[in-house]
Symmetry: none
């Protein structure tokens, strides 16, 4: 049975877990002390050394933030958080990529091989049915403002038309946004009225 921790030591562990979850790296000695009400860095060090002796964490001496919790998963290395920015068809353009996103979906690098600038949208509607993209599916996109002909893209068409998911075909000074469903008409608009906001790189559908 694990040796009983003092209340302070328990608070330290809880704080470290929260801090890592929020920041992605561990706290400093002084941050720990401020959080749990220890005014002396040597007391924080003493308690961290105790927690290390008891197997709750590991410290690397003389480097900043040199601690990690016991049992912390390294497999998280393969996980990415993809901002879930909303829905096709939305009534606002997607936010700037570096803006805060409330909601994320966790995927892995087995699904998204290059995790830069990716986000996800949930599909509403069946305009891309013949491309096997259905209502309720999750599409993963890479933020980019250009596309190749035939790419499936998220395009912002202005406040009236909103955000749409279609195949992109430039045609002179127009752009044709082609549905993959005969029930929908292609959208043909002047190129300057279209803002490409991302290209689809994966589709994920849950059935159960």
């Amino acid at each position: 049975m694990a040796q009983k921790l003092s209340e302070r030591q328990d608070n330290i562990l809880k704080f470290i877990r929260r801090y890592v979850a929020e920041h992605g790296y561990p706290p400093t000695i002084r941050e720990i002390g401020r959080a749990v009400g220890i005014s002396s860095t040597s007391v924080v060090k003493y308690n961290l050394d105790r927690l290390q002796t008891l197997g709750h964490l590991r410290r690397k001496g003389e480097v900043s933030r040199g601690l990690r919790l016991a049992g912390e998963a390294l497999s998280g290395q393969n996980v990415i958080e993809v901002p879930l920015l909303g829905y096709i068809r939305a009534s606002a353009p997607l936010p700037a990529y570096d803006e805060f996103s409330d909601e994320v979906v966790e995927l892995t690098l087995d699904i998204v091989r290059e995790p830069e600038l990716v986000y996800a949208l949930r599909v509403q509607g069946e305009s891309m049915r013949d491309a096997s993209v259905h209502d309720g599916d999750l599409v993963v996109l890479r933020h980019q403002q250009t596309a190749d002909p035939g790419d499936m893209v998220a395009a912002w068409l202005g406040p009236e038309e909103g955000l749409t998911l279609k195949r992109y075909y430039p045609e002179g000074e127009f752009v044709r946004l082609q549905p993959a469903n005969d029930a929908y008409q292609p959208i043909i608009v002047p190129a300057e009225q279209v803002e490409i906001q991302g290209k689809v790189i994966a589709v994920i559908r849950r059935l159960a």
Copy 2:
């Protein structure tokens, strides 16, 4: 298309990923510089600022190790390893669930809500095209030996017919395994010649 990185910037990102995987916290400016051959801390800072501008990482100013990679997950807890057991259409039945699998695909609990008894297969062929399952897709299945009518299942039909992916319809003492593609005939066999090996719970398709 993402803006091209210089070789140095690419090396910096690779180093940071390796360092975080090994240490559990990010490297310092000086550790990055030593690793990629930059002798000046201001050049490291310049490159990190550029990588941040391009969306590859985020920095928190004036704190040690205050950086994190874009899309880096905050927790490994949500990851599961799903055995990737082979292909539809295989010439052998699937192994017992607890047998060793060489190959896995990592998914998250956002994709597979109940991780018990799941495995994945890669689709070969287009027999389920009208169900939006295409050649090359990854299907995730839950190992089970029963199914409800209409479920998409992996069924083993014996050494001649192999493993197939179809919709399952029991019809008296027969079973109809229904493709979702008019180019394929339904398979109607005595129920005792069919072994249900799993039911599809998710479909994942990568486009890029």
